[in-house]
């Protein structure tokens, strides 16, 4: 695997400065490689979304980032310290280099504006020199790329299914060919068949364009399938970070095993859980027993 780093996050913390202050992310460090899919898993409130938003500097007060850095290693060879960028530089940086697919993409689209217009907004903002004809062509190409089709440019969001709206969001995030895409629960509201299609599409697009993905979800079985490496978060800290295979076969942290043990196995032994078919069946039995009781 490629070990050329794209993003280095060091000692990163996010604090919600309320009374008493809440440390949502505490002292997190990790490296994301170019072309890698990094899964970020953990239960509600563990800080996974705060971390992603914090890195992109999307948090608003009372959230503050008391310490830590996020260094983006650009293709051009220059390193960008995302915390040191001015407001205007950050605005230009976002979406161009690093884009985001938000949680609840179904409701992230403006219901009273045609999706073609919403896609074109990205280009009017970031590529002001582009002609109207070019924009329309680019937007059409994007919709073709994600399998929605350019004939839907003039559709309103409510005229599309949930899966199609999700694809439009992905098209929007792809518009400027960013090197990093952060996806926050992009398939949670969709049924399994649509989810599978979209995951396959993300995988193909990644192969085609070589971008890296931070994929945030609490669906661990899904992450095990699509990620190169997985980070497990608990109460603001990354308690385990390893390859998907190692997380599955040799989970080190007790919490990782507990999380795996909360997913019933699909095709394993009846009554079994996702955690349990590894080399150390004794430990697995103990965890499974604990979860069923």
């Amino acid at each position: 695997m490629n070990t050329d780093p794209l993003l280095t996050v060091s000692n990163f913390s996010v604090v919600y400065d309320v009374d008493p202050p809440v440390e949502a992310v505490s002292d997190v460090s990790f490296t994301l490689n170019r072309g890698e899919i990094l899964g970020l898993a953990g239960e509600s409130g563990c800080g996974k979304t705060s971390l992603a938003y914090g890195v992109q500097r999307l948090l608003k007060p009372p959230a503050v980032i008391p310490q830590g850095s996020a260094i983006f290693h650009d293709e051009s060879g220059t390193d960008v310290d995302m915390n040191a960028l001015s407001e205007e530089e950050m605005r230009r940086f976002r979406w161009d280099k690093a884009s985001m697919v938000f949680q609840g993409a179904m409701s992230s689209l403006n219901p009273v504006t045609k999706i073609g217009k919403q896609l074109a907004d990205v280009f009017t903002t970031h590529r002001p020199g582009m002609s109207r004809a070019e924009r329309t062509r680019e937007c059409g190409d994007l919709l073709d790329l994600v399998g929605v089709g350019r004939d839907r440019l003039k559709s309103y969001p409510h005229e599309l299914s949930g899966g199609m709206r999700q694809r439009v969001m992905i098209a929007m995030a792809l518009a400027l060919k960013p090197q990093l895409m952060i996806m926050d629960e992009p398939t949670t509201a969709l049924d399994v068949l649509v989810q599978r299609e979209i995951l396959q599409q993300i995988s193909e697009l990644r192969t085609q364009f070589g971008f890296s993905v931070v994929f945030i979800t609490h669906d661990l079985p899904l992450l095990l399938e699509i990620s190169d490496r997985i980070a497990i978060m608990l109460q603001g800290e990354i308690v385990e970070l390893d390859t998907a295979a190692n997380i599955y076969h040799h989970a080190q942290h007790e919490y990782t095993r507990k999380l795996l043990g909360s997913f019933p196995s699909l095709t394993g032994e009846r009554g079994g859980f996702v955690y349990g078919r590894s080399d150390d069946t004794v430990a697995a039995g103990a965890v499974t027993g604990g979860a069923t009781s």
Partner: protein, 269 residues
């Protein structure tokens, strides 16, 4: 022993300007106390239509629904008595509890309306029901916003059990809950099912929990039951191509890591 028979039920919805939508096409099954049937299928397959017809929130276009051999009533006090027998737990615990009322109010209402216990025993019964779903009875004076999603869903289950039903319809009861507590709520439902000898219709799109918690699985596709049978048979040896595609689309690390899986997400080597 209660038996609810859903016999050759068809449901058509009228769509303005676009004719009709066939939501259910000749669906039959039998729900009996003490057994859990899982109803799986993708969005729009007709799962919730079945739940709505069973609770008579919608009426079937044709076909029969028989409770212990008798046609179920459509209106009036007879329908109310029927609904005491067949209760529903809804998907979204944030929407199914009234934010203005206390937890006590929610659990107490069916007790009073259906006169399940004498008036002076209502308080004790509320406490018993909350304990039954493993909640602290002190929670009764709180309002829904003070509770977590899992606690709210437990309240919804307590409310459903208040009228001492023999059948429970659980429509995606955990899909809005966090993964770490889903298993807890499903285990609770399984325990309650055994303790109260309930018949449960578990509606879900999650095949793994369907297999884990049900005796039997029914697969619905475009309003037609395409496959049914003992849970293990349906998941491990699906006969219908649609069931296979559902199974293969579900995340399954076991197959993924053994390398014999279906065309799972391509992984980079």
């Amino acid at each position: 022993m209660t038996t609810l028979e859903f016999s050759h039920v068809t449901k058509r919805y009228k769509i303005r300007g676009a004719g009709e939508l066939l939501a259910l096409d000749d669906v039959s099954f039998t729900l009996t106390s003490g057994r859990t049937i899982a109803l799986v299928g993708q969005s729009g397959s007709g799962k919730s239509t079945i739940a709505k017809i069973l609770t008579q929130l919608e009426h079937a276009t044709s076909g029969d629904i028989l409770l212990d051999g008798k046609q179920i009533p459509h209106r009036g006090s007879a329908l109310r008595r029927y609904r005491q027998q067949v209760r529903m737990v809804f998907q979204d615990p944030f929407a199914s509890l009234n934010p203005y009322h206390t937890i006590r109010h929610h659990v107490e209402r069916p007790l009073r309306l259906d006169k399940v216990v004498p008036k002076d025993e209502v308080d004790a019964e509320v406490a018993r029901l909350l304990e039954h779903v493993r909640l602290d009875p002190d929670i009764a004076e709180r309002r829904p916003h003070e509770l977590s999603g899992g606690q709210r869903q437990r309240v919804a289950i307590a409310r459903a059990l208040a009228s001492r039903p023999s059948l429970l319809i659980a429509d995606e009861p955990v899909s809005m809950l966090d993964v770490s507590i889903r298993l807890g709520v499903l285990n609770l439902l399984a325990d309650l099912q055994r303790e109260n000898n309930l018949g449960v219709l578990y509606i879900t799109h999650d095949l793994a929990t369907a297999r884990h918690f049900s005796d039997e699985i029914m697969v619905l596709h475009h309003g037609v039951v395409v496959e049914r049978g003992p849970s293990d048979d349906v998941i491990l040896d699906p006969q219908h191509p649609y069931t296979r595609s559902l199974r293969d689309a579900s995340p399954n690390p076991e197959i993924h890591f053994s390398g014999t899986g279906p065309a799972a997400a391509p992984s980079r080597s």
